[in-house]
């Protein structure tokens, strides 16, 4: 993976004597972290890379925090980061049952776009996309944002009309997208077969500033910046109960003991139902497995992201040369992080029709993540029936792109009780019939 890092290197912590010292002192006090820069690389090169610090501190939990965030995926970490950066709330812990970014954040196909239909969606996804533009600089961590352009193929007349409508909506929302012809599709992506036998390409919705980013780096970058503000990121700390007094949250029980807090943010994606159950409320969410796979690395052959939603397949090429492929979600609740076999076949079959040249590619790996699906395919960023407890979930198959914007809005919601970015995404919108219906546009889109 190291060849993927631009001028900001992967912090080489594994072998530094520095790290061993820190591991022996888990109560390591807050020391501002050294910045990554070209000078740091030169300095470290001159001393055989012995001076890189741990990227974030490993600390034992304190007795109490102002805010506890459950879940160190991108959304939880970004929420913590903007709580500190935008609202000055720094007595914060992020609790993670496994390892940082080991949930969907480290399992997704990293497509970033903001070409949604409804205004509240466009607002939060475009805020997010625009934050991605400068995220590496803001975090001093190379998240490898690559605005290479995303195209969503229209392969049925229904999709043609749908994407033309979205292009008009995006024009009104100030999101730069364009409906393009099959010829333009072919120019942008020469390996596509636009006259495919079953589903010829009839056009596409093109977002030139959409693209991809390095998923782990997004989690690591936010974690490092949180740690730098003195926040505690505590891994292998599973929340097992939500404690409350009256109807107000008072803290959590964890595998590392009881920890108190004034406010609690639940940001656990596929496990939202489990945490909501602990907190005593129900959600309009079901969890299912969604899969992805990557091929062996090949020479550069495609420098845009292509999504083919009718046939359930989407593909981009990583900087390492692997074709990164995603497909459809399981139709029934499960927590297997694996997914059903026939989805892979469907996806691969569809992609081979659209990209005949990949027919003899070997696949290297396949994996699954547990995605939290709502009925209107829009997320929930909301207060909950338990006072002081907030939830950020329901990003389903498409929340990687939303990490910075969601963290921004969620932090404001938790700090001030409301945020223009999250106001429409409340839990009670289902009861009140205020759906943010992206199900047509985002049914299988990522």
């Amino acid at each position: 993976m190291s060849q993927m890092w631009g001028i900001v290197p992967l912090p080489v912590v594994g072998h530094s004597s520095n790290r061993l010292t820190l591991l022996a002192r888990p109560d390591w006090d807050f020391i501002a972290m050294k910045r990554y820069s070209v000078f740091a690389i030169a300095r470290e090169a001159a001393r055989y890379h012995t001076g890189w610090e741990r990227a974030w501190a490993a600390r034992a939990p304190k007795k109490k925090y102002d805010v506890i965030i459950v879940g160190a995926g991108g959304h939880g970490l970004a929420t913590a980061y903007y709580l500190g950066r935008n609202h000055g709330i720094r007595n914060v812990a992020v609790l993670e049952k496994g390892w940082l970014g080991g949930g969907n954040t480290g399992r997704n196909t990293t497509i970033i776009r903001s070409n949604y239909l409804q205004d509240p969606s466009a607002a939060i996804y475009e805020k997010s996309r625009s934050l991605y533009e400068t995220l590496s600089q803001d975090l001093n961590y190379n998240v490898m944002f690559s605005p290479r352009g995303v195209m969503m193929l229209a392969q049925t007349h229904h999709e043609v009309r749908g994407y033309q409508r979205t292009a008009h909506a995006n024009a009104l929302q100030g999101v730069a997208t364009e409906y393009i012809s099959p010829q333009r599709v072919k120019e942008l992506c020469p390996i596509i077969d636009i006259d495919g036998p079953r589903y010829p390409v009839l056009g596409a919705l093109w977002q030139p500033r959409g693209g991809t980013a390095r998923h782990d780096a997004v989690a690591w970058g936010y974690a490092r910046a949180c740690s730098d503000m003195g926040m505690d990121i505590i891994q292998q700390c599973e929340v097992t109960a939500v404690r409350q007094s009256g109807s107000k949250v008072t803290g959590v029980s964890t595998t590392k003991g009881e920890i108190d807090c004034d406010k609690l943010g639940i940001v656990v994606a596929g496990h939202s139902g489990v945490l909501a159950d602990m907190a005593g409320f129900r959600l309009p969410i079901e969890s299912v497995a969604l899969q992805a796979l990557v091929s062996e690395p090949i020479k550069p052959c495609m420098d845009v992201v292509v999504m083919a939603n009718t046939v359930h397949g989407y593909m981009s090429q990583s900087d390492k040369g692997e074709m990164v492929i995603g497909g459809g979600a399981d139709g029934y609740n499960n927590y297997t992080q694996r997914g059903s076999f026939h989805h892979i076949e469907e996806t691969v079959r569809a992609l081979i029709e659209t990209f005949p040249m990949i027919s003899r590619l070997k696949m290297l790996r396949q994996w699954g993540g547990i995605v939290d699906m709502t009925g209107d395919r829009s997320p929930i960023l909301s207060k909950t029936p338990l006072e002081g407890c907030f939830i950020n979930c329901g990003w389903g198959t498409g929340g990687f792109k939303a990490i910075p914007g969601s963290g921004w809005g969620m932090a404001e919601l938790m700090a001030k009780g409301a945020s223009p970015l999250t106001d429409a995404f409340t839990l009670d919108r289902f009861r009140e019939g205020r759906f943010i219906d992206e199900s047509v546009a985002a049914g299988v889109a990522h």
Binding site: I285, G331, N333, N334, Y335, T336, H342, F430
Partner: protein
Amino acid sequence: MLILTCPYCGVAADETELTPGGEAHLTRETVGADDAAFEGYLFKRENPKGVHFERWRHAYGCGKWFHAARCTVTLEVFGTYPAQTTEPPKDIRDKITAKRPGWSWRDFG
């Protein structure tokens, strides 16, 4: 790969032969229900990490709807049973108790 035995025709059907139908034993709220009950029926869903009850349809077989009791973590199937019931039958619940002591799902367990 998930295989469920259709309680009507007895076929051990692969999931590709079946259509998932979501949470089982919902009470269909109607005129006169309050907002909370109606919201619960339409939107709120059980999403357990463990024992779950669902509706399935033997779509590419005999076409009938039936119920399945399943673990969402291991995909172990505890049993399938006909659609003509508003709650999981006792023999299925006993089987689950033998394998997952202390389980609960809504008001059952």
